[in-house]
Structure formats: structure tokens, C-alpha cells
Symmetry: C2
Subunit: 93 residues, 2 copies
Amino acid sequence: MLKTNHYFDGDVVSIAFQTETLPATVGVMAIGEYTFDTSQRETMTVVSGALTVQLPGNETWETFRQGDQFIVEANQIFNLKVEVETAYLCTYQ
Amino acid sequence: MLKTNHYFDGDVVSIAFQTETLPATVGVMAIGEYTFDTSQRETMTVVSGALTVQLPGNETWETFRQGDQFIVEANQIFNLKVEVETAYLCTYQ
């Protein structure tokens, strides 16, 4: 039985699973702007669409597209803008 | 508000969304064996893990791994074996 999590009134939904090596989620973000905090080191891969991200401590925003990856260390806050519904894979370390 | 669908008693869960061009789902399959039928042409991409697939009309099974893609035409039945929890992206045409 796989577990889903709903955030931001259901505008971000994820499904938790276990890769061969790491806990992971795959999810979708609706169009919008979001602030997330991390409890573990997160490696985010864009599966479809694009995420425009302000990484912790950065003033600038960077856009990650299908196949691109970025890392956020544990206990950080980061901001995201989503202009097209976007699917992502996140692994936790 | 994103919509989730649960199949096989929650062993397959997907989230529906819209890419820039096509309707899509991203989902996870728990370890198990499944038979699916298609109502539209489906392009399946393995996001994490592996899917061992018996495509319609085939006697043989083929394993698709992270980044691999296969297509199933509309109104077909196909069989899947999943040996590690696997995330996939499916687009519909």
C-alpha cells in the first residue's frame, strides 16, 4: 500500500516509495509558488515540466527542466515557482 | 487540486497532470505483477526502478530501466512484473 501526501491544499501531491538504495517520492506540483523546508538532504530531479528555484542563501532564481537535478541540504528553506504542471522525483539522504 | 488514482488495492498509485502538450500521470508501482489495459496510446517512461513488460502480442518479456521508454497502443492489454518499487511517467495520446 503506497502512501500519498498532499500539500498546499492539494496543489502539491507526492507518492512515497523506496528505490533500491534510498527513500524517495515522486510527485506533481500545480502551477504556483511554494516554499519548502527540508528535514533531510533532498536530490530533486525534474521528470516533466520545469521548476524555477531559489536555492537556500541565493538571491537569484534558476530554472531546472526535464532531466535536470538540484540538491538542497537538510534543514534548509527554498522557494519554487512553477509555470507548467511539473512532475519531480525526490530522493532523501 | 491534483487528482490521485489508486489501483490494485493501492499497490499502484498515480497522480494526473497536464504536460505542456499531453495529459500525463506520474505514479509508483509496488512490487508485484499487474495486468493493465489501455484506452489511449500510452508512452511509459521508467523514472526510477525497473518494469519487466510483456507487450501486447509478445510471448517474451523485456525489462525497461530508469530512462527507458515503451509504447502501448490504445485498447491493448499488457502484463508487468515489478521487482523493486518503481516510479513511472505515462503520457496519453
